[in-house]
């Protein structure tokens, strides 16, 4: 057993031979954060007294959901055979939406701990990240976690892991992040089996940005991995993608609180602070060099964050619009992938069209807006990017059904993904049924271990963003996991379906769907609205239409009775209060033409909750 290191190695002058850079690849809930906590404690980086569960996950949402959104890096000392090492643990985001960020985190490492719950086995996202890690030539250390749980079946899942990455089942390390069992052995194994970083100390400096985080007090904190050369405080640095230059105000390592150092050299992992206020000036994947003696070739793998999923966000109380704008402006500082622009909807008023990396990203942003800025929001149905070519050969990029061109359409192409679904083999039939219903085509299927199957599908992203995951979970009692990656565009027979109230299109309900599904969508929405919209003093036709062609119709017949029959002496106070309440309700109505629609009806129709019909 190794003791805690007595003397830490100093950043900027550490021999790369004694540095180990690694990350932990794990599924949500498989205990990555708990294991990381235990490592911080065992290496003495965090005192037992300061230990706060899941130290690395900063945001409340992360802690509550048990997922890591933003990664960080921590430098931990560890001694073995009298030699002190610096272990840099780079935390990776654990979700499919952040594939690019994951890939940059992996590129900053030489090795990865593949952490799997000994009671659940490997999940689809973990598999995806494992592929990425192997792709980056990372040394993999397979580890089973939570072996203290009664439901743990380490023998079974050790076989499974060995089958996936090669090697023997008995070499799979067994730990418990909760009790600390096996964690010291794991740290030793990191030192022994993960290669030391290599780089040219004399070359012009090159550092890869694997994360950048906005801090309200310090501005943007940029996390880097030094590949070549050395960076020092007060140095003027340059971002290679934009050629923008900044002065380094502070450079250092996290252990885990930011600790300034004399610099960072080959193989080291740390942070830079330049006083920049916007994460867009410090992009993940970019290469940092020095202004005086710049590198000529940037590191490979940089790409701009590209939003894949779009949704309109509207404040339920229209007067909250300025707060929403301010909130988005603030979130943008810490989230380079978030894009938005103002948008107006007849039904929902003023809001913003927002672009997200994926569904989880959308959910996280919405939740942060609601929680941190106290906003009540409604989100329109998520949409993807369509390229629409009209008969006169003009191409329009459509991220919102309202931009879908009228007139003759020559072709529409939509983003496709390669989806991987991992589930117990008993659910294969139901999953295939779901995927085929979502226009998926099966690429292949393989067993993982003895009782689980990974299915590979080509599917339109548009089909996935629309409640696919909910259906997948409910059909498999929550056992299936999903991962997907974009694989380009494909033409499809897509049409825009409008929903009309008394002949007026309600923009929030327009959707771009496959022609075969247009009718089903039309019927679904017209029926839903019929249930949700209160009767008016006149008949209200509800129609679904493709262009001028009506494909589904319902009608709300005129209300004929809206009077309380009896009103005597004892009723007057009650009756007045009822009337005042009704009038208050009327104020929250939105007008679509002459039709009064309660805001709740829009919300319910968008969320599929048809139980809340407001009668007045």
């Amino acid at each position: 057993m190794s003791p805690r290191a007595v003397q830490e190695l100093q950043p900027a002058s550490t021999d790369p031979a004694f540095i180990r850079n690694f990350c932990i690849i794990a599924h949500i809930d498989h205990g990555k954060s708990t294991l990381a906590d235990r490592m911080l404690q065992i290496t003495g980086v965090v005192s037992d007294r300061d230990m706060r569960a899941q130290y690395l996950d900063r945001m409340d949402i992360e802690r509550e959901r048990g997922i890591t959104i933003k990664s960080q890096a921590v430098r931990m000392p560890w001694a073995q055979n009298g030699q002190t090492y610096a272990l840099n643990m780079i935390d990776t985001p654990g979700h499919v939406d952040f594939t690019y960020e994951v890939s940059r985190s992996l590129a900053a490492c030489e090795g990865a701990i593949l952490l799997v719950d000994a009671a659940q086995g490997i999940e689809a996202q973990t598999l995806a990240n494992l592929y990425l890690a192997l792709d980056n030539d990372l040394k993999i250390i397979p580890v089973l976690n939570k072996i203290d749980l009664p439901a743990a079946d380490p023998d079974k899942y050790a076989e499974e892991l060995a089958g996936l990455i090669g090697g023997k089942a008995e070499d799979v390390l067994r730990v418990s992040g909760k009790t600390g069992m096996g964690v010291e052995e794991l740290l030793d194994l990191v030192v022994e089996s993960i290669p030391a970083p290599v780089g040219d100390i004399d070359a012009p400096p090159r550092a890869m940005i694997f994360d950048s985080v906005y801090d309200a007090y310090r501005g943007v904190i940029t996390y880097v991995r030094m590949i070549d050369g050395k960076l020092t405080p007060r140095e003027k640095i340059m971002m290679m993608s934009t050629k923008s230059t900044h002065e380094v105000l502070e450079i250092g390592v996290s252990s885990p609180e930011p600790t300034p150092s004399k610099g960072l050299a080959v193989g080291e992992v740390g942070y830079l602070i330049t006083g920049v206020k916007d994460v867009r000036l410090s992009k993940v994947g970019d290469t940092v060099t020095t202004h005086l003696r710049p590198a000529t070739v940037a590191l490979k793998g940089y790409s701009e964050p590209k939003p894949m999923v779009f949704s309109g966000l509207y404040p339920i109380d229209g007067s909250d619009y300025p707060i929403l704008r301010e909130a988005l402006d603030k979130l943008k500082l810490s989230d380079a992938a978030l894009v938005y622009e103002p948008e107006t909807s007849v039904a929902l008023g003023f809001g913003f069209r927002c672009g997200f990396l994926g569904l989880l990203h959308l959910e996280i942003i919405t939740e942060r807006l609601e929680r941190e800025f106290n906003l009540d929001l409604i989100a329109t149905a998520p949409s993807v990017i369509y390229e629409v070519t009209t008969d006169d050969r003009k191409t329009v990029t459509v991220t919102n059904p309202s931009e879908f061109p009228g007139g003759k359409i020559k072709s529409v192409s939509e983003p496709m993904v390669k989806a991987s679904i991992l589930a117990p083999k008993d659910y294969v039939g139901t999953i295939m049924e779901l995927c085929q219903g979502r226009r998926g085509s099966l690429d292949g299927m393989e067993y993982v271990g003895t009782d689980r199957v990974e299915l590979h599908y080509h599917m339109p992203l548009g089909e996935i963003v629309f409640d696919f995951f909910d259906h997948l979970k409910s059909r498999t009692q929550g056992y299936a996991s999903l991962d997907y990656e974009p694989i380009g565009e494909q033409e499809a027979d897509l049409v825009k379906v409008d929903i009309l109230l008394q002949g007026e299109a309600v923009d929030a309900f327009s959707a771009i769907v496959h022609r075969d599904k247009a009718y089903a969508y039309g019927v679904l929405m017209t029926e839903r609205l019929k249930k949700l919209i209160p009767r008016q003093q006149f008949d209200v036709p509800i129609q679904a239409a493709i262009g001028a062609r009506i494909i589904a119709r319902e009608s709300i017949s005129a209300i004929r009775k809206d009077v309380l029959a009896k009103c005597y002496g004892g009723d007057i106070t009650r009756k007045r209060k009822l009337l005042e309440k009704q009038k208050e309700g009327k104020k929250r109505m939105k007008m679509v033409g002459r039709v009064e629609v309660p805001q709740e009806a829009f919300i319910a129709a968008l969320s599929g909750d048809t139980e809340t019909k407001d009668k007045k």
Binding site: I559, C567, G569, G570, I572, T573, R576, L579, Q582
Partner: protein, 412 residues
């Protein structure tokens, strides 16, 4: 039992009214409502403040008239001490519950106390509600001789299965008989009908209307059944024993009633009330003046548990349970549980919502400018009568009566 009291301000133990009532009390007629909170059985749809003998927590029905008389005395003192001008009583109304569960002598004792306190105005209207199975010819004659002028029978329906759903116990065959006795005693007769009872068809309703009209009452009230929260009927509907009432069927029933009643010589004068008129009978002859006073915002004192009162812009309501009521009254305290003095804006809403229900009850000139701007579109939507509007008043059309709450929302 019954629906909850409103939330309001606390009322003082001496019952003294705020100074504002003096100014707002004008020269309105003054009415007295006397509540009799007893029933032999509770009907499944009813949320009125009434109690069967098993629910009385030791209070005795026989002691009640004496307590009501004490409140009448308290009322006279409070009005005097509050500076409200003394007025004779124009209308008296005994409601419940079932007032006729009490011996006629007790109703008469209560009426006497009102006369003693303020005096009855010449031609005062004195009404009691009655169940067809709780009175006989002698009882009715005694009331008439003591000064009662009007009786309102809770007929509700002529169809046995509808009466059964409503938990009404009387024999429908008996109704024409009690109506005849009342008329013989010299009383004006009104009958109450309820439509929209679960399981009631349009044909059933027509039968009830025909039976009621065959008795040639002077006045008729027809109420759509309101399913009040907390009633047995509400629970039966929630659990699926009965279907949810259908608003469209109720609209058909209302239209049928209005047509039948109009052709039989009954004019509507309030959304749910019709009075007989004719060449020799002025339209106002058989209208319920007591109920009109509620809608016109006049002053009245409500005697008894849970009773509501209105004097000069202040409304209050008594404690609900007869036991709590008896305790207050016997201690010499006001039985008021809470009260409110709505501000000018709320009073205007009340005024419009009440007067709009009365035929030509709401002068257009009395409306705020915003509300007056709605008049043209209300005529256009067929909700108020154009000719009546040209004459200066809001008069709901048939469609408008069925959508009266919507009209009121546009006018407030």
């Amino acid at each position: 039992m019954g629906s909850a009291l409103p939330l309001g301000d606390p009322a003082p133990l001496d019952g003294l009214l705020p100074p504002s009532v003096v100014e707002l009390s004008h020269d309105h007629p003054f009415g007295v409502y006397l509540h009799v909170p007893f029933c032999r059985v509770r009907c499944g749809y009813c949320d009125f403040n009434t109690y069967t003998s098993s629910e009385l927590r030791g209070v005795k029905q026989v002691d009640y008239a004496g307590q009501a008389v004490l409140e009448v005395g308290l009322a006279a003192t409070v009005l005097k001490n509050s500076g409200v001008r003394d007025r004779p009583v124009s209308t008296v109304f005994f409601g419940g519950g079932t007032p006729t569960l009490l011996p006629s002598a007790q109703l008469i004792q209560m009426l006497r106390s009102v006369d003693d306190a303020w005096g009855l105005a010449p031609g005062a209207e004195v009404t009691t509600e009655a169940n067809p199975d709780s009175v006989d010819a002698r009882y009715l004659t005694e009331l008439a001789e003591a000064g009662f002028t009007r009786v309102s029978f809770g007929m509700q329906s002529a169809v046995p299965h509808v009466l059964k759903t409503l938990d009404r116990t009387h024999d429908p065959e008996r109704v024409p008989e009690v109506v005849r006795w009342a008329r013989d005693a010299g009383l004006q007769v009104s009958v109450d009908l309820i439509y929209g009872t679960p399981g009631e068809s349009l044909g059933d309703w027509e039968r009830s209307l025909d039976s009621a009209l065959a008795m040639e009452p002077d006045h008729l009230s027809a109420y759509a059944l309101i399913v009040e929260q907390g009633t047995k009927l509400a629970r039966q509907i929630k659990s699926g024993v009965y279907p949810v009432p259908d608003d469209d069927l109720e609209a058909n029933m209302y239209e049928l009633a209005d047509a039948r009643l109009a052709s039989a010589g009954y004019d509507w004068y309030e959304v749910s009330n019709w009075a007989r008129s004719g060449p020799d009978t002025p339209a106002s002859e058989f209208r319920s003046r007591h109920n009109l006073a509620y809608w016109q915002g006049h002053d009245w004192w409500g005697i008894g548990p849970g009773a509501h009162s209105h004097i000069g812009g202040t409304r209050w309501w008594n404690v609900k349970h007869p036991a709590a009521y008896a305790e207050r009254i016997l201690a010499g305290h006001s039985p008021a549980a809470g009260r409110e003095t709505p501000d000018a804006r709320s009073r205007e809403i009340e005024r419009v919502l009440l007067l709009a229900r009365i035929r030509s009850g709401l002068p257009i000139a009395s409306l705020a400018p915003d509300a007056r701007q709605q008049i043209a579109s209300l005529i256009g939507d067929g909700l108020i009568d154009g000719r009546a509007a040209l004459r200066g008043s809001v008069e709901l059309t048939l469609r408008g009566r069925l959508l009266a709450d919507a009209v009121v929302r546009r006018l407030t």
